[in-house]
């Protein structure tokens, strides 16, 4: 049975992880390779590296980071943040990364989704959508950019349907209302997108407890959950979270040594 995916998200800046967890025995909590390996050992199903500088100068460092992770970590990983061209896709995938996440560049130039999926396959194109409830668009959820600060006038459900049509393989859906609250995911929004598109939805934003994750995966209809602060502040480990979800009867991959 296909299992639900638990995906830690690591914010990176200039090739280093910021807001990383201080794993016991880890000498350098900013080293993306060490952190990736630690999450892998805990049973993470995939990893996401998000470049929060998104400056052009930091590009080279991001590619270098992806290449180093791919040398030592053998679970799928996604790289995102400031990706703007098919050539960015090519360079990231050439490092050994599996997927590329695009956000504002896709809004500016939706054809990037089509071009990238035609060239590299839908499976590597993740479109990140950051909606906020404003009531100013048809569904009430409006796509935002710049970490929720800038309105776009684009309706989140219409955009989700469009990115699927253009060839997106997955949608990374972050509620800008729930993000950082630790009060739980925006379940109605997650459900609405998951029911609308036939591609997997990764729920993000608002997780404070393992019970929130279970809700996103059941009531929200999500195929996967993205975890950041719930892990970064060391409150829960991936293994504890998986244990909880498993006891709730959710199909979960238990980390095992071959």
């Amino acid at each position: 049975m296909l299992t639900k995916r638990i995906i830690p998200c690591l914010d990176v800046k200039e090739g280093r992880v910021v807001k990383g967890v201080n794993f016991l025995g880890l000498r350098d909590a900013g080293d993306p390779v060490a952190l990736a390996a630690a999450y892998d050992a805990q049973g993470a199903d995939e990893l996401v590296f998000l470049d929060i500088t998104a400056s052009h100068e930091a590009r080279g460092l991001l590619f270098d980071l992806a290449a180093r992770v791919a040398e030592q970590v053998f679970i799928p990983f996604t790289v995102g943040g400031g990706i703007a061209s098919v050539d960015d896709f090519r360079r990231i995938l050439a490092t050994g990364a599996d997927k590329v996440s695009v956000n504002s560049a896709a809004l500016k130039n939706p054809d990037l989704i089509r071009a990238a999926s035609e060239r590299f396959g839908s499976q590597c194109v993740v479109v990140a959508i950051d909606p906020k409830r404003t009531g100013d668009t048809k569904s009430g959820w409006e796509v935002h950019v710049h970490g929720g600060r800038t309105k776009t006038g684009v309706d989140a459900l219409e955009w989700a349907e469009r990115v699927y049509q253009l060839g997106a393989g997955e949608i990374l859906l972050t509620s800008m209302d729930a993000d950082g609250t630790k009060a739980g995911y925006d379940l109605p929004m997650t459900r609405a997108v998951a029911d609308l598109v036939p591609i997997p939805v990764i729920a993000s934003g608002g997780a404070g407890t393992p019970a929130h994750l279970a809700d996103a995966l059941t009531k929200g209809g999500a195929s996967a959950v993205l975890l950041s602060s719930i892990l970064h502040y060391g409150e829960f480990t991936v293994a504890q979270i998986k244990e909880h979800l498993s006891t709730q009867g959710l199909p979960i991959r238990r980390a095992s040594i071959g």
């Binding site: 296909l2 791919a70 053998f74 679970i75 599996d98 590299f120 393989g169 071959g258």
Partner: protein, 231 residues
Amino acid sequence: MPAPTIAIIDYGVGNLRSVQKAFAAEGHEAIVTRDAGAIRESERVVLPGVGAFGAAIDTLRASGLESVTLDAAHSGRPFLGICVGMQLLFSEGEEMGRHRGLDLVPGRVLRFDEANLGPAARGVKVPQIGWNALRFTENGRQSGLFAGLENANDGAMVYFVHSYFCAPDSTDTVAATTDFIAPYCSAVARGTIYGVQFHPEKSGTVGLRILDNFARMPVPSPVPPSVLTPA
């Protein structure tokens, strides 16, 4: 005598570096190559692939590497198809029209949909993306590909990304099955030809073990040069 290397056939599709890096992590040298001579001389051969069946087989044919690929598979040297590389081993694929495959394993490649799987497929998100379990067949256990994983039960989980699945004509070639909508063939073994639908290079310790097993498969003894040289 063949060089002790693994040739990963580079016919212009897919992320080949991660397969190479995974072999390297297990201490095996693999080269990514489109050179027919290098493929012919390698000890074992990997056929990777992503994307659509039709595009992949067309690209393989256009690259001029189809015959060396078939020769390698028929040579008795260990041969491994990964993901769409496994699908290409089959006789025919239906993705975006009907396409003739390499016909090394009799059978067809079908979509996870209602037409092929009935009402159970309704409302199920396709592609299958994520970790799912392998159930080994007797053929799979005997193949050696899964050595060390036989007792893993639900622990033998591997990473899949695919919308189409292989349907062999004979269950004799099935090496493992996986449940998605219905049980399907997720690995094949026919003589020294192996195919895996999942990505062993992205399947953690289980996947690395499978690649290591492949890299340690016995290789036929080299043919004495006197036989090859006409008298």
